[in-house]
C-alpha cells in the first residue's frame, strides 16, 4: 500500500483569498504558499482563524474567491472532522463509490476498502448502513475513503477526532506511509502531541494570513533534504535547512544522521541506501537502521516498499555512525 507518487510539482497557492458569501468578511487573504511533495505539514492556529478554510482550499473542496491554486495532484483526498452518516449506503458501498471517484475499478475499490476497514478495526461494519454506525465508526469510514487510492495530497481536518486508540495509531502510521511515498500531507489536530516532531513544516494561521509556525521540539523530521521555496510575503516555518542564519537554521540538518526503527519479515535489498545496515534490537523491538539524513528518504521508501512497518524516525543523539557530517 505504498506506491511512490510520481514526480510532480508542488501545490502552489498564489495570492489566495477566501470569504464565505459574496460580501462576507475575508477569512484568508493574500496567502502565498508552496507545499512540496513528500512533506508532512501541520497547520496550527486558534479556533476560528481559518485553519479549516485553508485545508478546504488546498484540498479543492472550496474554490478561492481570489488568487490561484495550482499543482494539485490528480489523487487528492480529504477527511472532515465530522463525517455524516446520513447517506443511504453501507460502509463498504460508500467506500466503493469513493474509490471509483478516485479512479479505481469497482473490484480494486472493494478489495482496498475491505482492507482499510480491517486495518482501522472496522472490518465488521463493512455491510452496516452508514446511518447505523457510531460516530467513531463513521469516522473510520471517512479515513478509509481518503486512503483507498493512495492520494498524492492528503488533507486531514482533525481526522483523528472520535477514533479509538488503535485507529488513531493506524492513521498515524498511514500518514507516515503516505509521506514516505512522496505524498504531501496537510493536517490540523487539536492534540499537540499528534505526530509531534514529525512535521516538516508548521504553518500558523492568524489574522487572515498564513505564516511560519513555532518549531516543534523533538526528533528530526523523516523528510530531510527537501528545500522549502517560499516566494512572496509568507515565510513558511520549516525544519529543513534554513538559508537565513538569522532565523537560527544555519545547520545543514539535511545530512544529520537519523535513526530509523522498523520491523518486517520480507527480505530487504542487499545494499541499502546510504550503506545503512540493520541492527536487531532485543525483545522484538524491531531493527535499527542508522543512516545519513540525505539518504533517510530513500531508505524509508525501501522499507515501506518491502511492507516493513516503520516505528520511529529520530535524530541520532549519540556519536554519528552513519555517513552524516553531524
Amino acid at each position: 500500500m505504498s506506491t511512490i507518487v510520481g514526480a510532480r510539482g508542488p501545490v502552489r497557492l498564489a495570492g489566495v483569498g477566501r470569504r464565505y458569501g459574496a460580501r462576507g468578511p475575508w477569512v484568508l487573504r493574500g496567502v502565498d504558499l508552496e507545499l512540496p511533495e513528500g512533506r508532512l505539514v501541520r497547520v496550527t492556529g486558534a479556533n476560528g482563524t481559518g485553519k479549516s478554510t485553508l485545508l478546504r482550499l488546498v484540498a479543492g473542496v472550496d474554490a478561492p474567491a481570489e488568487g490561484r491554486i495550482t499543482g494539485r495532484p490528480r489523487g487528492t483526498a480529504y477527511v472532515p472532522e465530522r463525517f455524516p452518516p446520513a447517506l443511504p449506503f453501507t460502509a463498504l458501498g460508500h467506500l466503493v463509490h469513493l474509490g471509483r471517484l478516485q479512479g479505481l475499478t469497482t473490484a480494486v475499490a472493494r478489495t482496498r476498502a475491505t482492507r482499510w476497514l480491517e486495518r482501522l478495526g472496522a472490518g465488521g461494519y463493512a455491510g452496516t448502513a452508514l446511518s447505523e454506525l457510531s460516530k467513531g465508526s463513521a469516522q473510520k469510514v471517512a479515513v478509509a475513503q481518503a486512503l483507498l487510492a493512495e492520494p498524492g495530497l492528503l488533507v486531514l481536518d482533525e481526522a483523528w477526532t472520535g477514533l479509538d486508540e488503535a485507529a488513531r495509531a493506524e492513521l498515524d502510521r498511514a500518514v507516515r506511509e503516505r509521506v514516505a511515498a512522496g505524498a504531501t500531507v496537510l493536517f490540523v489536530d487539536h492534540d499537540p502531541r499528534r505526530l509531534a516532531g514529525e512535521a516538516d513544516t508548521v504553518l500558523r494561521v492568524a489574522d487572515g494570513g498564513v505564516g511560519p509556525g513555532p518549531r516543534e521540539q523533538g526528533t528530526v523530521p523523516a523528510r530531510v533534504g527537501a528545500k522549502a521555496v517560499e516566494p512572496g510575503p509568507v515565510r513558511v516555518g520549516t525544519k529543513t535547512p534554513d538559508p537565513d542564519p538569522a532565523r537560527g537554521g544555519a545547520k545543514p540538518s539535511a545530512s544529520a544522521p537519523v535513526r530509523i526503527v522498523a520491523s518486517g519479515t520480507r527480505p530487504l535489498p542487499g545494499v541499502l541506501p546510504g550503506g545503512a545496515a540493520g541492527e536487531a534490537l532485543g525483545d522484538g523491538g524491531g531493527t535499527l537502521f542508522r543512516v545519513g539524513g540525505a539518504d533517510s528518504d530513500a531508505l524509508l521508501r525501501v522499507l515501506l516498499d518491502a511492507s516493513w512497518h516503520v516505528h520511529r524516525v529520530e535524530a541520532e543523539t549519540g556519536p554519528a555512525t552513519g555517513g552524516g557530517r553531524g
Binding site: A22, P64, P80, R82, L87, L101
Partner: protein, 214 residues
C-alpha cells in the same frame, strides 16, 4: 464522470428522493392526457409537465448530499466536476422520465394524420427542451444562488411557471409547436437547441458562482 453520475444517481435512487417528483409527474400526465386524445397535443402537455419536475429533480441533486459528504467528493473528484455531474444526472433522470411518458402517450393516443415515429420524434425533442429548461430553472433556484429552502422552492415554482409562459423560453416554444399545431407534429429542433444552450450557460454560471457565493 461516469463514477460521479453513478454516485449521485445511487444517492438519489437509494434515498427515495426520486419518488415525490415522479409521483407529481405521473399525476400531471394522468390529469392532462386521456388515452385516445390526439397525440401531438398530449405530447405537448406531457413535455410541459416536465418543466417543474425537472427543476425539482435538479434541485434535489444539488442539495441531497450532506456538506461533509460533498466536501469529500469534491476533493476526490474535483469540486466543479462533481457539481456538473449533479446537474447532468438530475437533468438526465428528468429526460428519462419524460421519454418514457412520451412513448406511453404515443402508444395510447390517437394518431390522427400523423405517423407514430414522427410524433414520437417531435415529442422526444420537446421533452428534452422542457427537461433542460426546467433543469436551468432548478439550477438557478438552488445552491449556490439560492440557499434558503423557502426562497428556493418559491423560485422553483415561479421560475417553472415563467418558463412555460414567457415568450422566448425554449420550453414554451417546444410545447406550443406541439399543442397549437393542428395535428401535424413538427419536430421542435430550434427549441431543443436553445434549451441546450440555456442549460449549458446556467450550468457554467452555477459552477463559477460556487467560488464567490458559498
Amino acid at each position: 464522470m461516469t463514477a460521479l453520475l453513478r454516485y449521485h444517481s445511487a444517492l438519489f435512487l437509494r434515498s427515495q428522493r426520486w419518488l415525490a417528483p415522479l409521483l407529481l409527474y405521473a399525476a400531471l400526465v394522468a390529469v392532462g392526457v386521456r388515452p385516445g386524445d390526439p397525440v401531438p397535443g398530449s405530447l405537448g402537455i406531457a413535455a410541459a409537465g416536465l418543466v417543474p419536475v425537472s427543476a425539482w429533480t435538479v434541485r434535489i441533486f444539488l442539495t441531497q448530499e450532506p456538506a461533509a459528504a460533498r466536501a469529500v467528493v469534491a476533493a476526490a473528484a474535483g469540486r466543479s466536476r462533481a457539481h456538473l455531474a449533479a446537474l447532468l444526472a438530475g437533468a438526465g433522470w428528468a429526460v428519462l422520465a419524460g421519454a418514457a411518458a412520451a412513448c406511453a402517450v404515443t402508444a395510447t393516443g390517437g394518431l390522427a394524420g400523423t405517423s407514430g415515429p414522427a410524433a414520437l420524434l417531435a415529442g422526444l425533442l420537446a421533452t428534452t427542451a422542457c427537461a433542460l429548461t426546467g433543469g436551468a430553472v432548478g439550477t438557478l433556484a438552488a445552491r449556490p444562488f439560492v440557499r434558503a429552502p423557502g426562497w428556493s422552492v418559491a423560485a422553483l415554482l415561479l421560475g417553472s411557471l415563467a418558463a412555460l409562459v414567457t415568450t422566448g423560453s425554449p420550453a414554451k416554444h417546444a410545447v406550443t409547436a406541439l399543442v397549437a399545431d393542428g395535428g401535424g407534429a413538427r419536430p421542435p429542433w430550434a427549441a431543443c437547441a436553445a434549451a441546450l444552450l440555456l442549460a449549458a450557460v446556467t450550468a457554467t454560471a452555477s459552477r463559477r458562482a460556487g467560488a464567490r457565493l458559498e
